[in-house]
C-alpha cells in the first residue's frame, strides 16, 4: 500500500458521510400527515411532535390529535362519527376523512408501503 493509495482511500472514506447524508437520509423516519380542509387548503404536519389541532369546517371545528407518531380524529361535528371510528392512522398511505365537515387526513411516510389503499 502506497501513500497514494492511502490518499485515495482517505478521500473515499471522507466522501461516505456526505453520500450517506445526501442519499440515505431522505428515507428517514420523518413521517408526516397531509391535512386538507374545506377550502382545499393542504398542510403537512410532522408526527414526531404530540399536539392537538383545530381545523375549521362548514359544520364547526374538527379536533385532530397527534401522539406517538400517529394521528386521529379526536372529535368532529358530524353525526356519524365515522372519522373518529377510523381510529389512529400510522402506516403510510392510510387516511381518514370527516366528509360532512370536509376535513381529511392522509399519513405520508418518506418510503410509502403502498401506492394506494383499497377499502
Amino acid at each position: 500500500m502506497t501513500r497514494a493509495d492511502l490518499v485515495v482511500i482517505g478521500f473515499t472514506l471522507a466522501l461516505l458521510p456526505f453520500l450517506y447524508g445526501t442519499f440515505w437520509n431522505r428515507q428517514g423516519p420523518a413521517d408526516a400527515a397531509l391535512i386538507i380542509d374545506e377550502s382545499g387548503r393542504e398542510f403537512s404536519i410532522p408526527l414526531d411532535t404530540d399536539q392537538q389541532l383545530h381545523i375549521d369546517g362548514p359544520r364547526g371545528v374538527s379536533i385532530l390529535e397527534v401522539r406517538d407518531g400517529q394521528i386521529r380524529f379526536l372529535d368532529s361535528p358530524c353525526r356519524g362519527k365515522q372519522c373518529i371510528h377510523a381510529g389512529w392512522l400510522k402506516e403510510s398511505g392510510e387516511f381518514a376523512a370527516c366528509l360532512p365537515n370536509r376535513v381529511s387526513i392522509a399519513v405520508n411516510g418518506s418510503e410509502p408501503l403502498y401506492d394506494s389503499i383499497n377499502f
Binding site: 497514494a4 402506516e91 381529511s104 403502498y114 394506494s116
Partner: protein
Amino acid sequence: MLTSSKEIDLRYPGLPGLLLIALLAGLGLSCSEPPQQQHKTQFMALGTLVTVSLWGVDDDDAAEAVMAVEDELNRVQKTWHAWQPGTLTEINAALAAGETIDADPATLALLDKARDLAHRSGQLFDPAIGKLIALWGFQSDDRPDAPPPAKADIERLLANLPDMNDLVITGQTLSSTNRDLQLDLGGFAKGFAVDQAIERLRDLDIDNAIVNAGGDLRAIGAHGGRPWRIGIRDPQSSGVIATVDTKGDESVFTSGNYERFFTWDGVRYHHIIDPRTGYPATGTVSATVIHRDASTADAAATALLIAGKDKWRRVARKMGVKQVMLIDSDMHVYMTPEMEKRVYFRTGTPPRVTVSEL
C-alpha cells in the same frame, strides 16, 4: 504531495481506485434521475376523498391531468347523484309520475349497462330500489340521528319492489312499468366515474396512474420499474390486511359494511341493503373484486357482499368476475384460486382461508 516512487497507474486503478470510481458512478446515476417522478394529489369529489397518483410525468402535465380527472368526476357526480338535483333526479321524478321521457345516448348506454349487471347479479345489485335506500336514510351525506325505518314501511316497499327489468328502454326513451322504481346508482356510479377518469388520462397520453375514489380504484401501467402496490384495508382495524400488485390495467373495488353505517339502540345498521329482505346484508363484512373495468368491479363487489358465503360463487360466475375475496364476520376469508395468487396477507397470523373454484 505524491512523492512516492510508484505513480498511480490510471489504466489499472487497483482496489481503492475502483472504490472511488464505483462511488462516483453511483453519485452520477443518482443525480441523473429526473426529480419527482411521482405526483400524488388529493381532492374532494363524488362526496369522498379522491387521490390521483401519477408516475413519470412532469409538473405541468400532472397538473393538467389532475384537473381533467377532477372535471370528469364532478361532471359524473352532477349527472348521476342520487339526491342532489341533476339528470338522475329528473329521470326519477318523471318515472315516479309515470311519464315516458327522452334521454341522450350516453345516459341510455349507462343505464343499459347497469341493467345488464343487475340482471347477471340475480338482482342482488339492484339500482332500482332508490325508495328503499331513501327510507333507510342513506340518501344523505350525514344521516340524521334517527331510528331505522319501521318494519311495516319496509314490507310495504318489498311487496312491490322494483328491479331493473321494470325499466323500459325503447329507442331514445325511458319509462317504467313500476311507479315505485327510483334509480340509485350507488354501487355503480363510482366505478363508472373512475372508468371515465382513466379514459381522460389516456386522452392525455398518461399511461401510469391510479385513480382512487374513496378507497376504490383503477390502476394503469406501473410505478416505474415496479408494479403499483395496493394495500387492502383490514375490515376490523385501520391497518392493512393484504397487498396486491396490479398488472397492466386493473380495478380493485371493495364493498364493506364498515364504510357507512349508523348505530341505534346498540345495533349497527350499514348502508348495503339486501333487496331480498329490505335490511342491511348480514354475514359478510367485505367483498373485494379485481377486474379490468371499474363499473363491473363496483357492481360485483356490492352484489357479492349481499350474496354472502353461500351464493357468492354463482353470482361471480354470472357477472364474469374471477378474482374475488370475501371476508365474513368471523374474519374467515373465502376466495378464488385466481385471487389467492394475487394477494399477500400482511397480518401477524394469517387468517383462515378457504379457496374454491367458481
